[in-house]
């Protein structure tokens, strides 16, 4: 190698090093949200492009998300700048590993959200970032089968069952759709909708007489549920294909249906049971891990995410709603309008019975959801007797509550210490 080529070699090496360090200057935004390719792309192009220093937005499944975070924590140094995840993901993390976020100017519109974000400590561990909920949606063709006297904005579970039965009879096949696949959010339906609506609780009332009624009702509904539901994950697909006409799912998992064919579908509030209209607000937040390479820049990004412009851009990109008070523009995508109306009707209903996402369970939140999923699989799919399954699962649930010491959350009555299963 002569001197010239040696020099050229060295120069290209330096150039390479520079480009690598330039790439590292971007804040790594490690998120469990906005995972579908289109949403991730929209986050990058429409939301995060407005942040000067640049952002490397990397959405992930929850497992790998947590695994890398833990690995960086154990190593004591890391490259993740900002974390984006659901409240439930954060509650599985030791607050010690997150940077305290007090001193932000952003006005979080909900006090409940602000106190959730403290994760049981005195200071903000994450900043609320965006919110959503679960709603019902239906193909307009199903509307003509609504039972007499039923108001679609104030349905009861009995009316929903009757409606699904009418459609089933008229169409010859069950058309209620339920996200019961491995990636479906069925556990949230049991925890935030079915149980609160019938038992006014989630944990305390797990094996109560009202819970037996709730499962009996769900079994009735299941008779009119598309049996392929055990493969369903995002109900927008089945709405669009016509495999399901009436569905329950997360607003962002229904968005595509409303955006593609806004005139064909309606969104409406979840049904009500004897104990009110149970529903579950969903909260996502942004946090900074203690191992973040550049905490100031990460802070700047968190601050940026809470600006009105970024909040509205996030709404457009993900169909998750702002957590601060902003004036929504008129030209929002159809999915946002439809879902927004339904959520507003649901939360302002007279019989509204909001239930929080499970909290305080730490790394046991997966086990907690598994109790509800197992109960569903055993009662509904395997046809086992309700009382016996509830008794069985009750022991598992009690063990989880005892191990974590998690106190009750709404709508369960507050408890001293671990929430008891009565």
């Amino acid at each position: 190698m002569n001197l010239k080529s040696k020099l050229a070699f060295a120069a290209s090496g330096i150039a390479l090093l520079c480009s690598v360090s330039a790439a590292q200057a971007e804040v790594l935004f490690w998120s469990t949200q906005a995972r579908p390719a289109e949403e991730a792309q929209a986050m990058r192009q429409q939301v995060l492009s407005g942040f000067g220093p640049g952002v490397d937005y990397q959405p992930n499944e929850e497992g790998p998300w947590l695994t890398r975070l833990q690995a960086e924590g154990q190593a004591g140094s890391g490259s993740i700048g900002v974390l984006g995840a659901l409240h439930g993901n954060f509650s599985a993390i030791d607050p010690e590993t997150l940077v305290d976020l007090d001193g932000f100017d952003a006005a979080i519109s909900s006090e409940t959200f602000a106190s959730l974000a403290k994760l049981g400590t005195d200071t903000m561990q994450y900043m609320p970032w965006m919110q959503a909920s679960y709603i019902m949606a239906a193909n307009k063709e199903a509307l003509e089968y609504l039972p007499d006297g039923a108001d679609i904005d104030a349905l009861t579970y009995d009316q929903l069952i009757a409606w699904a039965a009418n459609v089933h009879e008229a169409e010859g096949s069950p058309k209620f759709g339920f996200p019961a696949g491995p990636k479906g959010l069925k556990h949230r339906f049991f925890q935030g909708y079915l149980y609160p609506s019938y038992t006014n609780g989630v944990v305390r009332t797990f094996a109560s007489a009202e819970a037996v009624t709730a499962w009996e009702k769900f079994r009735e509904l299941w008779e009119h549920t598309n049996p392929a539901s055990t493969n369903f994950a995002f109900m927008q697909e089945q709405l669009l294909s016509g495999d399901a006409w009436i569905v329950f799912d997360h607003t962002s998992r229904l968005a595509q249906a409303f955006n593609e064919r806004p005139d064909d579908f309606v969104a409406f509030p979840a049904p009500a049971g004897p104990a009110g209209r149970g529903f579950m607000p969903v909260l996502a937040g942004v946090a900074i891990p203690e191992t973040a390479p550049d905490k100031d820049e990460a802070r700047a990004l968190v601050e940026y995410m809470l600006t009105p412009e970024a909040q509205i851009a996030t709404l457009r990109a993900t169909s998750f709603f702002p957590v601060i008070d902003v004036d929504l523009p008129d030209d929002l995508p159809p999915a946002v309008k439809a879902a927004g109306d339904a959520v507003a009707k649901m939360s302002s209903a007279e019989d509204a019975n909001p239930g929080l996402l499970p909290s305080g369970l730490g790394e046991k939140s997966g086990d907690f959801s598994r109790v509800y999923n197992d109960t569903f699989e055993r009662i509904i799919l395997a046809g086992q007797p309700i009382e016996q399954v509830l008794e069985d699962q009750k022991a598992t649930l009690q063990r989880i509550m005892d191990e974590t010491g998690a106190p009750c959350w709404a709508p369960d009555a507050p408890s001293e210490g671990a929430c008891p299963v009565e």
Partner: protein, 281 residues
């Protein structure tokens, strides 16, 4: 250099690689499986085995391996014999047959889901041809047999090629003289296959079977795509423990159980298809 040292020197990189990327993680996993924070314990194993889905997923995994592998063995033998007789276009046929090898198993599962789904290809075809008035729901909890068959078909489609490749290579190694001699003595094609090909194919069959059986116990993505929550298998439970429940200890324990099963079957196959010393080609 000493010629006796050369072989060891040549396998050194692979040994190092295996040591770092297989043995070391293996010991970590084993350690994780036998500890829960307070020293040695079998709690993880107890937890995993006493969960109500464990017997079901164990049964399903075995059943699937038992039904899929023999069919794949027969199919790959048939395909390999066909290919080895071909004069022209042999490579082309081999390429086409091995296409599924290049497809990830999740993708394979999704392809077959697109076929069997309610609004999938099979249903559109059947309604289009007038065979059914309404789309049939193949993959439902009311129809576990159909779910099983769909998973079987997808697995056969996806993973037969790996055996095919090994067996084609094995057949290529068998000297033509054996066949010529057999023909001279008037052996029929079937007799030649049974008496010449099969016995001489033993080493390849051994490799192919071990590989395939071990992979069959690790079946996951195809099942997840087609069976959803309906057909729990061991690998799916490991995934659920690790990622849904964040319980690495239980996942590690279950992984060791799968490893033990795989090892047991590898030993059985090694023993059943052993090639006596001095009988190699």
């Amino acid at each position: 250099m000493d010629a006796r040292l050369l072989p060891y020197l040549l396998i050194l990189p692979v040994t190092l690689f295996l040591g770092v990327f297989f043995l070391y993680p293996f010991f970590l996993v084993a350690q994780q499986a036998f500890t829960t924070g307070a020293g040695f314990t079998l709690d993880n194993f107890r937890d995993v085995v006493s969960y109500w889905k464990f017997p079901i997923s164990l049964k399903n995994t075995f059943l699937l391996a038992l039904c899929v592998v023999p069919i794949q063995l027969a199919l790959s033998l048939l395909m390999a014999t066909m290919v080895s007789r071909m004069e022209k276009g042999r490579d082309l046929v081999l390429y086409v047959w091995t296409i599924p090898l290049g497809i990830s198993d999740l993708a394979a599962g999704i392809i077959w889901l697109a076929i069997f789904e309610q609004s999938g290809f099979l249903n559109s075809m059947m309604t289009g041809l007038g065979l059914a008035d309404q789309p049939v729901n193949f993959l439902s909890y009311q129809n576990p047999l159909m779910v099983f068959v769909a998973i079987m078909l997808a697995e056969i489609w996806r993973a037969t090629a790996i055996m095919l490749v090994i067996i084609v290579a094995g057949i290529g190694l068998i000297p033509k003289e054996y066949y010529e001699a057999a023909e001279v003595f008037g052996a029929s094609p079937w007799q030649r296959f049974l008496r010449v090909t099969l016995p001489l194919l033993r080493p390849s069959l051994q490799t192919a079977l071990i590989l395939r059986v071990v992979l069959a116990f690790e079946v996951f993505a195809v099942v997840a795509a087609l069976g959803g929550t309906l057909f729990p298998v061991l690998m799916g439970e490991i995934y659920a423990y690790q990622f849904d429940l964040q319980n690495g200890g239980a996942a590690a324990a279950l992984a060791l159980i799968v490893l033990a099963i795989s090892l047991a079957f590898t030993l059985i196959i090694l023993r059943a298809l052993r090639v006596p010393k001095g009988a190699t080609i």
